[in-house]
Symmetry: C2
Subunit: 226 residues, 2 copies
Amino acid sequence: MSKCEQCIVRQFSSLKALSKDELLKMADCKTSYTIKKGETIFEEGEITNGIYCIKDGVCKMTKLSANGKDQIVKLVKSGELLGQRSTISEEPANLSAVALEDMEVCFIPKTEILQFFTQNNQFSMNVMKTICGDLKEADDHMVSMAQKSVKERLAETLLYLEDTFGKNDDNTLKLQLSREELAGMIGTATESCIRLLSELNKAGLIELIGKKIAIKDRNKLRRMSE
Amino acid sequence: MSKCEQCIVRQFSSLKALSKDELLKMADCKTSYTIKKGETIFEEGEITNGIYCIKDGVCKMTKLSANGKDQIVKLVKSGELLGQRSTISEEPANLSAVALEDMEVCFIPKTEILQFFTQNNQFSMNVMKTICGDLKEADDHMVSMAQKSVKERLAETLLYLEDTFGKNDDNTLKLQLSREELAGMIGTATESCIRLLSELNKAGLIELIGKKIAIKDRNKLRRMSE
DNA sequence: TTTAAAGTATGACAAATATCATATTTTAAA
DNA sequence: TTTAAAATATGATATTTGTCATACTTTAAA
């Protein structure tokens, strides 16, 4: 069993407030999992009973809407925690978590987490601040969905993907989403998404290299996203 | 100065976890305000330095989008707290708060709130659960905006307004929003909102009594909202 | 009370987006 | 490798929604 104390990703999450003793306790009760691309970590409506610490990889958090389409609510990457909200609320998960790449995660049981809350005030504050940040993002995201056109949201999302997950040597986005997934992020039909990508390609703002996407003109994209 | 101990609305918020001593301290440092309909409590980008406890009235939380329209992100009513997120994050407000009715609010300084966090674990957990609830709502709201049509969102919103704020003797919605505000909630143009209201009126699902709106057929509205 | 301003309502039209059809390309299974 | 399935791409068309114009109604100020 690997030690949480030596785990680097811990430094990037609320867990950085935990003491040596607490980390030892956590290492004792955690379970490590390898999750293959496409596999589900947990499903909307499921009782999770703990949180996942992402050691490696990226996953999408989705919600099935009434019309049968999967809306991608957000992407979560290594160093971040998964399932905090449902654990704290003691409610079933509101969103499904599905791996977009092969992942390494550690599961920490709810009982352990709740103990840390009562013992360690800094940890509580860290978690609270994280969730407050999530709330701000969610509100902003909502306003985007309500007020921006699909084209604006697409431009915004492409920039977000490059900024957050980086690019390869050929300038293509490192995180490769299918057209359907990209459509699911911006909240539109897959065909509309593909059509707008073609349009941006013809206008020279992006380049389509097979299924991959490379951003060619950040400034124009940024102006387009507003 | 009125005593927080005897304030009823306290019971409905995270503040119910505070001890007698803590309530006395709070009563000592709080400031009460009367806010007239239409007045702003705080503005997006402003540093708030504390939270507001709503004793009476309802306010809208809005965000100005790039296209110049005000999106109503949520409505907050008596018994709820205002400005928790920015106080905890120690960031400027992300949303503006504007009174929809005459309001009575109490302002509690940040220093006081942060003390309660370190002293009173139950209070921390209450606030955390509230914010987790807000986050769930925000995510769900986002999916609605991304996946539902304007008509579906209008139906959904009318039901929400009746469920949350009740109706008058003539069955009209108690919380009276202008058509522009209603459009701002569902994220559409005012004219589109008015047009759809006319349509629902002609179809007998609602009745328009002057500027007021009465729901006539909840079941059909609910089916329409999905 | 009169009058101007704001809010509500509706028509005409334009723009954005979804849907359905179909072709092409890529991927993965047999 | 061959083949079927899935993903990507694009056209044609329908639907939804936004915009602009204008009329009517209510509200509030002079």
